[in-house]
């Protein structure tokens, strides 16, 4: 128990750092996105690190759910941050930073899907990756569960993931932004470059399709 707590503490320290750097990070952590952006533009090197810390996991989740490829998702998130870093001085600070960064990530994800549809090799690699995941041993599962529970859990998980992947691309992006990221209709409209009506209708269709696919799995 104590060892676990120590490990947790070490992990936390590793994430936050120690001493002066830690204090600085904690201060940055209290600022809003736009204030951190301003700090980065003013030359504070830790400010951009803070932006990365705020968005890396969220963006990875969004990109991964959109393109369905974990490894490629990491590359795209990296590319997103590089672009943000390169063009931060062009960012209109009257707008929300999160909308801007999601727009960049969304465009990269769309390009990825477009390129993938043109390249059969990438498609094959994705299929192979999924096949590997299906045949992975179960050591990460909780051993308290019975085999049928494990099967049920895995089946449910893969079905839900498949259900998202089955949605058409433009529906999927809207759906993930709304359901996973909790974006408002206005933000989704800004990110995807559509009007509000289109966002609503796409979201409605995506929810309807998703419900059709997963309905058998929900008690």
């Amino acid at each position: 128990m104590a060892r676990a707590r120590l490990k947790e503490k070490k992990k936390e320290e590793k994430q936050i750092g120690s001493g002066e750097a830690r204090e600085h990070r904690l201060q940055l952590g209290e600022l809003s996105d736009s204030e951190v952006v301003q700090a980065s533009l003013d030359g504070d090197p830790r400010a951009f690190d803070d932006l990365v810390r705020r968005y890396d996991q969220r963006l990875l989740n969004f990109v991964y759910r959109t393109i369905g490829d974990r490894e490629r998702g990491q590359d795209l998130v990296q590319e997103t941050f590089v672009r943000v870093y390169r063009h931060l001085h062009r960012f209109d600070q009257s707008k929300k930073f999160s909308t801007w960064i999601y727009t960049i990530a969304s465009n990269l994800a769309k390009n990825e899907l477009r390129n993938r549809s043109r390249n059969p090799l990438v498609l094959f690699q994705t299929l192979k990756k999924n096949w590997d995941a299906d045949h992975r041993p179960l050591e990460w599962e909780d051993t308290q569960y019975k085999p049928d529970d494990l099967f049920r859990k895995r089946h449910l998980r893969s079905k839900v993931e498949q259900a998202v992947e089955q949605l058409p691309e433009h529906h999927r992006i809207v759906f993930v932004l709304r359901e996973m990221e909790g974006k408002t209709y206005e933000e989704i409209a800004d990110i995807t470059g559509c009007n509000l009506g289109t966002v609503k209708s796409r979201l409605n269709r995506a929810r309807n399709n998703f419900a059709h696919i997963i309905a058998p799995l929900i008690d």
Binding site: D56, Q78, L156, L203, I214, I218, D219
Partner: protein
């Protein structure tokens, strides 16, 4: 009416018993109501909303964007329509299921790699700041403008001076051969009495074209003296 209806075949039941055999089959039916197993008995009865209206407006309702009247109509419809209630539950709980999935984890080398890439971005900036001081670019642009102006000057400045030369009119084509034949005159001199005297006349007058070098003349003299035994070897 063409409403979107959900035909309940076997109910929801226990999930594990339903693997590979979906308990509910949602289909499009005309003139039937979702909650009636296709009988269409209570269609349109709850308020003035039917199931297809509900499917269209449910998104706004769930996100709290529906007007009050519409929300009331949806709630009334849900009170009397179990299939729509089920549909609403699936639409609500499906994304919850999705959110409950473990989020993908970042690779351990994600941040170091990103830092490395950002370092290169800084590097590029510094290099471009040094290389693009402005002067070379301006010079290139200036030269380009100058060359363009020169190339286009006849068109741009139509008043540029034009020299018109009188046409040369001849009676007959010259009949001399292209190669001048040797006529016994020493090389470097032209005979004023040649066939082409009319052409050459006055052209080469008082012009020294070639002269023997005094040195060669001296060699010539020495050779003759040697032959006569005047000089020692």
């Amino acid at each position: 009416m063409g409403a979107l209806c959900f035909q309940v075949e076997r109910g929801w039941g226990n999930w594990s018993s339903e693997v590979g055999n979906p308990p509910v089959n949602w289909q499009y039916h005309s003139n039937t109501h979702p909650g009636s197993n296709g009988s269409g008995s209570n269609s349109m009865s709850p308020a003035s909303m039917n199931c297809s209206d509900l499917v269209v407006q449910l998104t706004d309702y769930l996100d709290g964007n529906a007007p009050e009247a519409e929300s009331t109509a949806i709630e009334r419809h849900l009170e009397g329509c179990p299939s729509c209630v089920r549909y609403k539950n699936v639409v609500e709980h499906g994304p919850e299921l999705l959110r409950s999935l473990p989020a993908p984890e970042l690779r351990e080398d994600f941040r170091p790699r990103l830092k490395h890439r950002l370092y290169h971005v800084d590097d590029e900036r510094v290099l471009s700041a040094h290389s693009s001081s402005g002067t070379p670019a301006m010079t290139v642009v200036g030269i380009a403008i100058l060359l363009t102006a020169v190339a286009w000057s006849p068109t741009v400045f139509p008043g540029a001076p034009m020299v018109e030369l009188p046409a040369i009119v001849v009676d007959r084509a010259p009949d001399r051969s292209p190669v001048r034949p040797a006529n016994g005159t020493p090389p470097g001199t032209f005979s004023s009495k040649s066939d082409d005297a009319d052409l050459d006349e006055g052209l080469w007058a008082n012009t020294l074209l070639y002269d023997y070098s005094p040195l060669s003349r001296r060699y010539d003299q020495r050779a003759r003296g040697r032959q006569a035994g005047l000089f020692d070897r």
